[in-house]
Amino acid sequence: MNNQNGENEDVLLAKLLQANPVSDVSVRSAHDSAAQAQLEEILMSSRNEPINIGAYPDNHHDLKDRQKVAYRQPSRSPWFMAAAASLVLLLVTSAVLFWPNSTEPALAAVQSAAAEVQGAESGKVITTLEVSDGEFSEAVEVEILFNGQDIAVKPLPNQELGLDEFEVRLIDGVSYLKEGEQWQSVELPDFLASEASKAMTEMLNPTTVLDVVDVISDVETVGKQEIAGVETDHYRSVVALADIDVDSLNFLLNQQSGLSTVLGGESASIKQSDLPAVDGEITIDINIDDDGLMRKISFAGSPEFEGESINVDAEIVFSDLNNDIAIDAPEASETLDLLGSFEESDNRVDI
């Protein structure tokens, strides 16, 4: 095995290698008559006919074009699965919302570490979310930088779904959206900018998920674990999704002022009948370093969502907390000012 990461030392992979049912050298060669007949049949076919097998990767040298080719159609929409995963995480948060606080040392350490992260002025967050429906899986990795109200959300390169073609920055109340190579900017009027900025920051900043640890009650200490070269204390809590009630979910949603802004000042009000049927457990793992800072929080489980099992594996890694994080506006020459363009056209919209 020529795996570059030393996987040949892995016992499980070594066993799998041994279980290889077909050796390359044991199959017929390209010079075999049957193989040559197959080749000639292919050569006889037209090169110009459409490829109707519906599944082929594009030229891997051209990443941008490649990601526009929708050659994989999962059995479920990845967006459905991502939405389901997000909802499950939200439900996890609400499920533990009203659990009583505890003075247990493990819980106190977790709550303190979460507060440190949420109170940080700046930082870097890498979020990985993987969801699967038992047959297909999709993974998304996003890097988020925040510094005060400024925030930059950038999916990591070479991702599925073409997600890495998009990038969002919010700087001094101006929103920048990058699609492909083109940046577009929107500068909102002052009376809107503050609230909108706050709402966007709240929605985009993953530290808001740490609300969950404010109310966790049964944290257990697992032991020591190294995260990115740093030794941490490892804690764990398991949440039963059947414990969810709609009141706690509404309370959680309304805690977020950003949502209220989106709703035009109205409160979120979800009815019990609106909730999907969710069952199962989610395991929350938390790592805290010697300085009492949370290094990682992860959520994993296979909850049943509307009767079907969906595997959820989310990981949020924090670093550079309170360090100098630079979030720069794109070059003006690369940016199309949407509202400016609108004003220049005398507020006419051609359809």
């Binding site: 095995m1 020529n2 795996n3 570059q4 892995d10 499980l12 992979l13 066993k15 799998l16 290698l17 041994q18 279980a19 290889n20 049912p21 077909v22 050796s23 390359d24 050298v25 044991s26 199959v27 017929r28 060669s29 390209a30 193989a35 197959q38 080749l39 049949e41 292919i42 050569l43 076919s45 090169r47 110009n48 006919e49 490829i51 097998i53 519906g54 599944a55 082929y56 990767p57 030229n59 891997h60 040298h61 490649r66 990601q67 994989r72 159609q73 990985t128 038992g134 047959e135 297909f136 899986s137 993974a139 990795e141 990591l156 390169p157 070479n158 991702q159 599925e160 595997n311 594996d313």
Partner: protein, 178 residues
């Protein structure tokens, strides 16, 4: 170079590896042959793109994997390798059993999601590096490492748990493939 000559060269260089890939995953030699045909037919129709690729083998594996995914959606039975089907065209593999039963390992592998199975097979049976797997699966090398780690964890959990389907199911499945 003449496109026909290019395909002949591509075929000569990669046919055995693609056939092996297909035999490891398909339910019959005929299905494996069909998969090989689909892969090289795609390469023939995209020969202008293929010639720009320095190492086309991972690209060809990527084509094969996507064909398999589509076939699975059409409920074509496959992926469980069966010894009998290989008798006419391959020699029997030499399994090394120490503590872990190979049939149990293969059964656990077959119960993983397709993408988890595929990444473990690519890094072992096809002996691809993380960089090459990244080309096949169209993701970053870092994501490959992450996915292998997770797939291994799922496989270990399956092997440790009682979630493996009862032996009677396995026997029934084998009988169905006869």
């Amino acid at each position: 170079m003449d496109p026909q000559e290019e395909l002949r060269q591509l075929f000569a260089d990669n046919y055995q590896k693609i056939l092996s890939y297909a035999l490891r995953r398909c339910s019959s030699p005929d299905a494996a042959d069909d998969l090989v045909g689909d892969v090289f037919l795609t390469a023939w129709r995209r020969i202008d793109d293929v010639r720009a690729i320095e190492n086309p083998l991972p690209w060809l594996y990527g084509v094969a994997g996507n064909v398999l995914r589509n076939q699975r959606r059409s409920n074509v039975r496959q992926l469980n390798v069966k010894a009998k089907m290989r008798q006419n065209i391959v020699s029997e593999p030499s399994f090394v059993d120490d503590e872990l039963d190979t049939s149990e390992l293969m059964e656990a592998l077959s119960q993983l999601p397709f993408d988890d199975q595929e990444i473990l097979r690519l890094c072992t049976w096809e002996s691809l590096s993380h960089k090459e797997i990244a080309v096949v699966l169209e993701c970053s090398s870092n994501a490959v490492g992450l996915r292998i780690h997770r797939a291994k964890a799922k496989l270990r959990n399956l092997l440790k748990s009682d979630k493996l389907r009862p032996q009677i199911d396995i026997e029934e499945k084998k009988a169905g493939l006869s």
